[in-house]
């Protein structure tokens, strides 16, 4: 236990002698709190202890103990380690007070826990399903829920080997067996899910206005899910007063595949390639977060050789550069500069992808990190090419992009003062990454809670202070420059040596919980893992940065023109693979 945590523990225990208890389970490091005191304790944590950033809220289903647990991860926005609180409720009557009033970042995450676990958050203003479709019956992340095409609880499946009779899931359609229907679903033609109505009712409530004598009306517009500006299948239901947005609700889940359920069926090793598919523009950072979380549990067994750490940093930073290039390019696309800026950015990204392909074997779905290192070393010739790109080409090209766009008056007039998010709001909404830093909060996980070997490098945390779309654009250029600085140092210092000591396929992870978080290009990416000592994770949760950043979308958009909503969304830089999981 760190010193900081001891202080926190004593402070919490003196304040709440019987209410807050140290979590005594093996490998757990948080505190257990009573349901009825949760709000009170959270208020003290926020106002007196300074933990003002609620990073992650998630549920865990302990089927054997007949308990559902809600796990909260708090951080200080000035940096430092986490404070973990858990609340346990009986499975049959899962009601927990909502923290929405204290931390708005709980909004979507509580809705997700309700959607997937059926934990009711009392006091949440808009507790609807968020990832599953409206009218879905059951709570898919509960341990006793079985999906369609269910084969076995855990991989590897016995019917693959040694019997090995090939079959297709479609042929073995088990829909009849394990799909549950809502009550009164005998006449599907008439059936009408109520959640969609609730959405519009809520919107009308938000956008209520006093029209006076002249009869005017609000218009509800659904932007998406098939809309080019939403970067995928994402819907914004907006209420318009003329052209001005008076209320907005994001609707998501069109790409939902229940990544976490798949993750719990998988073994630890199986999960690495699946994490690639979360934020598919920055796969290797996803690998890094997951591998870190598991290595924390593995302890000494998960020690990483020096060269592998350097390769990890190099790969993560290259990913960040390529992701930001993409983000800048497509933000300009959203502004209407059709494809010239984005293609200039994509050209540079292409060179980075070539390096990925030569090293990891794939351009995007890299699957490169392993527990205790990386899969293989750089092949001959790749480091030379990498050096030439990082030292010669990219700095020049970033400057060119800067000259090309930053002073452009059209860009400035479309983005300056649009979608402003103040630092207090940014922290309360739990946004991370460039969005948070553009609002003037110098919070970067690489500095605030250093992981891997980031504490060895000399770099600045890029920060801008206006919190508008222009700052969110320009901070990405700043960050590319800082990433290049890290890359140049790493490439100079990279030592010789092995990159992976042992690579067993049947890894067993000691019992306990761990939360590994990294600074992904889009924000703070966290992996919450609970291990019960078997070959498969008991709980596998992804705290996806794009998903949580969207919490602030409504705040940024209300009062703006509808055309600016597109720019605001582009400046958050979301990837739907990660939002919907």
């Amino acid at each position: 236990m760190t010193e900081e945590l001891v202080v926190t523990l004593s402070a919490l225990e003196t304040r709440f002698p019987d209410v807050v208890k140290k979590d005594e389970r093996k490998g757990y490091e948080g505190f257990l709190v009573d349901t009825k005191n949760l709000v009170e304790v959270a208020t003290v944590i926020r106002d007196e202890l300074g933990y003002d950033y609620l990073s992650s809220v998630t549920g865990v289903d302990y089927l054997e103990e007949e308990l559902l647990e809600v796990v909260y991860h708090f951080y200080r926005s000035t940096g430092g380690k986490s404070l973990v609180l858990s609340v346990q409720v009986p499975r049959k009557k899962a009601v927990v007070p909502s923290l929405y009033d204290l931390f708005i970042s709980a909004d979507f995450q509580e809705r997700e826990a309700w959607d997937l676990y059926g934990i009711k958050f009392e006091g949440h203003p808009d507790l609807r399903r968020i990832l599953m479709w409206e009218g879905f019956e059951g709570f898919p992340m509960r341990k006793d829920y079985q999906e369609a095409f269910f084969v076995e609880d855990q991989k590897p499946f016995a019917n693959r080997w040694p019997e090995g009779k090939v079959f297709r899931s479609e042929d073995e359609n088990q829909f009849g067996k394990n799909v549950q229907y809502p009550k009164g679903f005998d006449k599907p033609k008439k059936w009408d899910p109520e959640e969609e109505d609730l959405l519009y009712a809520g919107l009308q409530e938000l956008g209520k206005k006093d029209s006076g004598d002249l009869a005017t009306d609000h218009v509800v517009v659904n932007m998406g899910p098939q809309h080019p500006s939403t970067h995928g299948v994402f819907r914004m239901a907006v209420v318009l007063d003329g052209e001005r947005i008076v209320a907005l609700k994001p609707v998501m889940g069109y790409l939902h595949r229940n990544h976490e359920k798949i993750g719990e069926r998988n073994t630890y090793l199986h999960n690495i390639p699946f994490t690639d598919r979360l934020d598919y523009l920055s796969s290797m950072v996803n690998n890094h977060g997951y591998v870190l979380a598991v290595e924390k549990l593995l302890g000494k067994k998960g020690a990483v050789p020096e060269r592998a750490e350097y390769i990890r940093v190099i790969m993560s930073e290259l990913t960040r550069v390529s992701n930001h290039l993409w983000a800048i390019g497509f933000l300009l696309n959203d502004l209407g500069a059709f494809f010239t800026p984005s293609l200039y950015a994509i050209e540079e990204r292409e060179l980075i992808l070539d390096i990925f392909e030569a090293t990891t074997g794939a351009r995007m779905m890299n699957n490169y990190f392993r527990f205790g290192g990386v899969a293989r070393d750089f092949p001959p010739g790749v480091l030379e090419k990498l050096n030439s790109i990082v030292f010669e080409r990219l700095p020049r090209k970033v400057d060119e992009l800067d000259v090309y766009l930053t002073d452009n008056e059209v860009v400035a007039s479309r983005t300056k003062g649009v979608g402003v998010l103040s630092p207090e709001e940014a922290i309360a909404h739990g946004v991370g990454g460039p969005v948070l830093r553009a609002s003037g909060v110098p919070y970067d996980v690489r500095r605030a809670d250093p992981y891997s070997i980031y504490d060895r490098f000399d770099f600045d945390v890029a920060v801008r202070y206006h919190g508008d779309c222009y700052d969110r654009y320009i901070i990405r250029i700043d960050e590319i420059r800082q990433s290049l600085r890290i890359l140049q140092q790493a490439l100079k210092d990279i030592p010789e040596g092995p990159v992976l000591l042992k690579n067993p396929y049947n890894i067993r992870v000691p019992e306990g919980e761990s939360y590994g978080r990294v600074e992904a290009p889009k924000g703070e990416l966290g992996f919450y893992i609970v291990s019960d000592g078997t070959a498969n994770p008991y709980r596998y949760h992804v705290r996806a940065p794009s998903f949580v950043n969207l919490t602030a979308l409504e705040k940024m958009c209300v009062g703006q023109l509808v055309a600016d909503a597109v720019v605001v969304l582009g400046s958050i830089d979301i990837v739907l693979g990660e939002v919907d999981r």
């Binding site: 030569a358 074997g361 000259v403």
Partner: protein, 216 residues
């Protein structure tokens, strides 16, 4: 001055535009449909457009590139084919989407498994090209391919590869991945020698035992 930023930006686009043509003129006859030109367009020095005109031109794939696994067989000196796979099932176990099915051979007399697969299926619709099977195979029997052009009109039968379709000679592997092949061959030879030495030692021990028994 208002508009200066726009002019600066237009200057950048103009430079890009001109560079495309100067590049073409400078490398006239060498840039398109030539290996040299394709390499140039993938290098850090390229100034003009990057586009490679697929399918007339193709990007060379690097050695580590991976797409859909295949099974290796060695050709013995007498011309028979020896499949390397022993149907141990490790590839099926590490496969994240579980797209590998293996049927073991059993000896009809003893009922015990024989180290050779009867059938080996890979559903390439499910395969996510992660490369685990190749990475964890202890016998170097399954490797990732370089052939990425496998679109077909038939979605069902053409996309479940059986043993016959998966088998490729070891020479093909040596050709697409020369460095890996070299590295693995050294280890394989060492292993084979060790095995031989162990067998010889065992035989010697048995002979010695028999001799000792005979002496008594």
């Amino acid at each position: 001055m208002y508009g200066k930023g726009i002019f600066k930006g237009m200057w950048v686009t103009l430079k890009h535009f001109v560079a495309t043509f100067t590049d073409d003129f400078r490398m006239i006859g060498r840039k398109y449909n030539k290996a040299e030109g394709i390499e140039y367009r993938m290098s850090k020095d390229v100034k003009g457009i990057f586009s490679i005109q697929y399918p007339e031109e193709k990007m060379p794939v690097p050695e580590e590139f991976r797409f859909i696994p295949f099974l290796l067989y060695d050709t013995n000196e007498d011309g028979t084919e020896q499949i390397r796979c022993t149907s141990c099932g490790i590839c099926a176990k590490v496969c994240p989407p579980q797209c590998i099915w293996i049927e073991q051979t059993t000896n009809p007399d003893t009922g015990r498994p024989v180290p050779e697969p009867v059938e080996f299926f890979v559903d390439i619709d499910i395969c996510m090209n992660c490369g685990y099977c190749a990475e964890y195979c202890p016998f170097d029997a399954i490797k990732m391919d370089h052939d990425y052009e496998m679109a077909s009109f038939d979605r069902i039968d053409a996309h479940i590869f059986n043993k016959e379709k998966l088998l490729k000679p070891a020479e093909y592997y040596a050709e697409i991945r020369p460095l890996n092949w070299e590295r693995e061959e050294i280890i394989r030879k060492e292993k084979a020698e060790k095995k031989k030495a162990a067998e010889a030692a065992k035989a010697a021990r048995a002979a010695a035992k028999a001799e000792a028994a005979g002496a008594e």
